[in-house]
Amino acid sequence: MKKEFQIISELIENNTRVLDVGCGDGILMKYLKDQKNVDTRGLEISKNKVQICVSKGLTVIEGNAEEDLKQFPKSSFNYAILSQTLQAFYNPEKVIDNLLNVADKAIITIPNFGFWKVRLDLLVKGTMPITKNLPDEWYNTPNLHMCTIKDFFNFCSKKKIKLYKSLALHGERTFEINNKNLNWKNFSSELGIFLIEK
């Protein structure tokens, strides 16, 4: 299991209810179900990946977070997970709003557009950045709303969303982000992982 999922699973308490939005082939869901006795549900846009989840005995609904989150009653879950897909929505603000409605807390991870390699690509090459976490060309990327760790930090304070935990991931190493190191972590990290609450 990739490092990002390890960190997410450490943020989730045992015996809780979790909605994994964009659950993919259910690797994280399966881990949470088997290792932490978590009652998991998934929402996934790809039919193929829904099939894979079904074969693993996971409960997944084929659907799109922008339309299908609304169907869950308020606070149906303890946590909602959104891994590296926030930037692909038409309206990320509304998705976050809906996440924090259906779940008490949300864990959101973002590929950091403030990462130095990304900045360097644009600065030196003058072309849209391509990295491990942003592998697509500008003309075929699903990403619509890229943001940086700092952007997300500012967004939470502006929207009065509580940031319980902010972690920066670079390679296999994780760091706590705080106000003092924010600029540096925004420069040196590939991925931001946030545990938030309304």
Binding site: L58, T59, I61, Q71
Partner: protein
């Protein structure tokens, strides 16, 4: 008439109060089984048939001598693997394959019930079939499954018996029959009633049944089970065994010939009055209304794990209607999975060889066993 004497049936002694107010007792329920019930009795699956189905889901139907309606799904190593599971399928009441229906003899008159048969509902069908659990001494089913009207029965079953099945698979169905579907059913009924042989339902079952009306009803319904794309690809404007138009009203086009054939073989195995009763039951089905406008209430007591399946080209029971069930289940906090299968075979997809569909059923049933 076809000989239905060798069909397996149980006589239900427990009185059943129908939604229409009448009570029926000592009535026959015809069924068939596939596979073996294990010692723990936890491998049973109750399959519900659709409008024109019967209990012969798999293998060769002893009456029609054709493959069972769900032969693609039910059988050894198939999607519903009868090496693992014990599949029970019953003919619905109101039907014409051995269960209590309008073709049965009314003891008061010594003639067929005809339209003196009570109007039955999906709820009545499900309550009648629930007796099979007692008969087989099954405390809890592994699954209830069905497509179209079979899916409606799945929903009603869980609403009526919230914890009598571990899993439930409603396929290509709805919680509330739409105006469009009622309209198509009415077209079929009017076609039967317009046949001079129908005689208000009191026709002679032996020699003058309203076959023309029933055949037209089947033809019209058959179109609704397919998709425009599927029809176009299969038939297009191809002519039937001729090089040019005939300038007559013969079946010039292959599609005409196909529909006529479908109508003609249908009347050999189906009773016109049963068609009226069963379509009526579908039209009356409104689980939303049964629970005072809140579908979630139908499921809130249930621990059953659901999986709902729809098909892209099904315009009779479209994805949106299936998703409403998903939404209601989620609102009730019930565990539910959902997938829309890509198929251009229309509503009939649930009866056909659609690999992704078959795979989903197999994976869901086995991963939860």
């Amino acid at each position: 008439m076809i000989n239905k004497e060798n069909i397996k049936k149980i006589i239900i002694k427990k009185p059943l109060k129908l939604d229409c107010g009448e009570t029926i007792v000592d009535y026959p329920l015809a069924y068939e089984t596939y596979g073996i019930l294990n010692e723990k009795k936890n491998n049973a699956i109750l399959a519900f048939h659709a409008l024109t189905g019967d209990q012969f889901a798999s293998g060769i139907n002893p009456i029609t001598k054709k493959q069972g309606w769900w032969s693609y799904l039910v059988g050894p190593s198939k999607a519903i693997d009868t090496n693992k599971f014990f599949v029970i399928c019953a003919n619905v009441i109101g039907g014409c394959m051995g269960s209590f229906g309008p073709g049965n003899i009314n003891p008061k008159t010594n003639k067929e019930f005809g339209t003196d048969f009570p109007v039955i509902t999906i709820n009545d069908m499900v309550n009648a079939q629930h007796n099979l659990l007692d008969f087989f001494k099954i405390d809890k089913l592994h699954s209830v499954i069905g497509g179209s009207m079979g899916g409606m029965q799945v929903l009603q079953f869980v609403a009526n018996f919230p914890n009598k099945t571990k899993t439930a698979i409603p396929i290509a169905c709805t919680a509330s029959h739409s105006a469009q579907n009622i309209a198509f059913n009415e077209l079929g009924r009017q076609s039967i009633m317009a046949d001079a042989n129908w005689k208000n339902g009191n026709y002679s079952y032996l020699n003058s049944t309203p076959d023309k009306g029933l055949a037209v009803a089947r033809m019209a319904a058959h179109i609704t089970y397919l998709s425009k794309k599927g029809l176009q690809e299969k038939f297009g404007r191809k002519l039937q065994e001729k090089d040019d138009l005939n300038f007559s009203f013969d079946a010039d086009f292959q599609i005409e010939s196909y529909l006529r054939y479908q109508g003609s073989i249908f009347v050999d195995r189906f009773d016109a009055n049963s068609y009226l009763y069963i379509t009526r039951a579908m039209d009356y089905f409104d689980l939303v209304k049964q629970y005072n406008g809140n579908l979630s209430k139908a499921f809130e007591k249930s621990k059953t794990k659901f999986f709902i399946i729809s098909f892209t080209s099904d315009w009779l029971y479209p994805t949106a209607e299936n998703k409403e069930i998903v939404i209601a289940l989620n609102a009730a906090g019930v565990e539910v999975g959902f997938i829309e299968i890509i198929s251009d075979k229309g509503h009939d997809s649930f009866l056909l060889d659609v690999p992704e569909f078959l795979k989903t059923i197999k994976n869901f049933l086995e991963a939860n066993y």
